[in-house]
Subunit: 400 residues, 2 copies
Amino acid sequence: NSGELARLLAEFGVEVARIAVEGDDEGVLAARIAELCATHELVIATGGLGPTLDDITREAAARAANVELVEDERARTDLLAWFERRGAPMPQLNLRQIRIPRGSELVRNPVGTAPGFALEIGRALFVSLPGPPHEMRALWQDSVRARVAARFAQPLGRARLYLFGMSESRFAEIAGTRMKRGADPEIGVTASDGRLSVLVTARGGGAGSAAELDARARAAADELARELEPHVYSRDEGRLEHLVARELAARGVKIAVAESCTGGLLAGALTSVPGISASFERGWIVYADLAKQSELGVAPALLAQHGAVSSEVAAALARGAAERSGAALALSTTGIAGPSGGSAEKPVGTVWFGVHWRGSTRTHLLRFPPGDRERVRRFATNAALHLGLTALREAGDSRS
Amino acid sequence: NSGELARLLAEFGVEVARIAVEGDDEGVLAARIAELCATHELVIATGGLGPTLDDITREAAARAANVELVEDERARTDLLAWFERRGAPMPQLNLRQIRIPRGSELVRNPVGTAPGFALEIGRALFVSLPGPPHEMRALWQDSVRARVAARFAQPLGRARLYLFGMSESRFAEIAGTRMKRGADPEIGVTASDGRLSVLVTARGGGAGSAAELDARARAAADELARELEPHVYSRDEGRLEHLVARELAARGVKIAVAESCTGGLLAGALTSVPGISASFERGWIVYADLAKQSELGVAPALLAQHGAVSSEVAAALARGAAERSGAALALSTTGIAGPSGGSAEKPVGTVWFGVHWRGSTRTHLLRFPPGDRERVRRFATNAALHLGLTALREAGDSRS
């Protein structure tokens, strides 16, 4: 959770000075909480709020604050309602979860049995949140975020860029000293499966309104974007599947997919977008040659002559998916994810993509570094989405 | 990476005493490395080995060890070969990556440009590894693991259990004080998307051979398994898709999938298994009613009468997938992943599963807690795999 929390706190310009991980010893944990709360302004703990005996955050925080644990009535009501909704009896152990340090404020948990709590210890605000990431995020969004922002937010401006198809080291060469710690604006970058997320932060030494700082960050992002064309694909959303969904909805057109090497990940990414059912009706995973033939009409001769991993078959898959579904856009993938199956001519990591748009089909070849099957598959999924996004944008915004 | 490293180190019984996260200031980092190396036996750093100016782990480690940075010839050869394989010119900045502290041993990187290094600082072995998780893992497996094991491994015995369909708090009630820190054997559990991974560790206070400790851990796991039946689905592999693949291969039969609410994730999980192409040939994502009809022959009357999220449609999807593919086993999912689309009768989180095995079809209903679309989808994917695994095992091992 620590990376996620650092990201959430960065939203207000709150810098994480220290991340500590502690074991399950109550005395040690209490001493560490007391120490951290004496030397920092905000201390957030995650985990250790479960019902079992090795869940000791409540006890340790109470000891650090030198108060006792008391039962919270609202927590009790929430907990009983949680089990009642499930029609399950409440294990007695769960009653441990409604005891919080005296003087603390309950942080209710709408998605689990473990409530959090917040209390003043030393010079710090101490916040205890449950460990499961989706619970931690839910409590943060529901109530902790606003409280932390009100007390700790620093003025800063931010702008983002999202890039595809550029290496991190090539990016760093271009960004140069603008990536140095302390630069203002400062540029940071993170890579994931072919995408780069760039964050430009303007601080202005604490001076300047939020609007001025935002404008400075945007200006720096604009300058950088000019140096990075044509790799920039978005300024507000990094998830390619969401951008594709947005373009499909704006044009009122549908998409279909025919997947071989990505094996369902491309459809899985698209269907992660709420509301996608308006634009996505069907997809095929055609792993075997015979499936490519019988489901999507790929000619046996094409497969025999060029092999399944070829421009010709990628094109036939995309065309077949478009024709069979009636979708305006169809994307296909066929490649060698590894670890075996590669050859000198088509090494592991070779992937052909087909993009069919309104009656015409293009294909693209990418070679990913071999070695990690899942990485090749995730990278290929993003590459297919990026190709689809590019095709939609090139098509302009006519609804003809 | 810290969670992953803690897990990797736990393999030898090495306990992580402290996890610290540091910023990009070279002096601060050097002081912290020196401090940690004075008070611990093993210090592992990840990240900060990139080519850019904010990558300062090399400099900080050299300063902490009071040595200078020197170019490593083998690192230079590896780096040049890396770029040559890609046919790309090497940015000058990358040369920063081949300078490592004098006296350290290079840890070669087969999957990236950043080599790691290991050197003695204070009373500790200091190991520096690259930050990208797949690079960190590769270097760990290739060379760091063996070195750390040889020097630090503690004798202990381990046994595992994997469970499906039981809550973590119900598990904790059953395991009771065996989960207390310091219990021997000690039981630990982690939950993910419907699965529980249970680890039983026997330490014997440092006495006892590895074989004896293993036997004690296994005996404790056996006892626990008897209390947990029928939830235990494996003792050696938690990934349901790998177990399904294993059973399919053992029986020489094929699987097909028809996905609505999981939208490709079920096929994506199956195709993550290397070699699955022997058992998986095709799958359908049939998101729209029309797709369910035209691809898999679901009768329009069924859809009109019962709705897409129903036992009848789940059965028809599984049957259609089996008939169209000729696979012995077919799995289907149809449900409401949310956030919208729910009703009083079928709330968000309602998922029907169809399991077709050699001519007969069964259906199952599960209701997941609503709220997180991706969580419902991942949970449903595991549930479908678990149902498939159960069907294969109930069928016995005849190859008829």
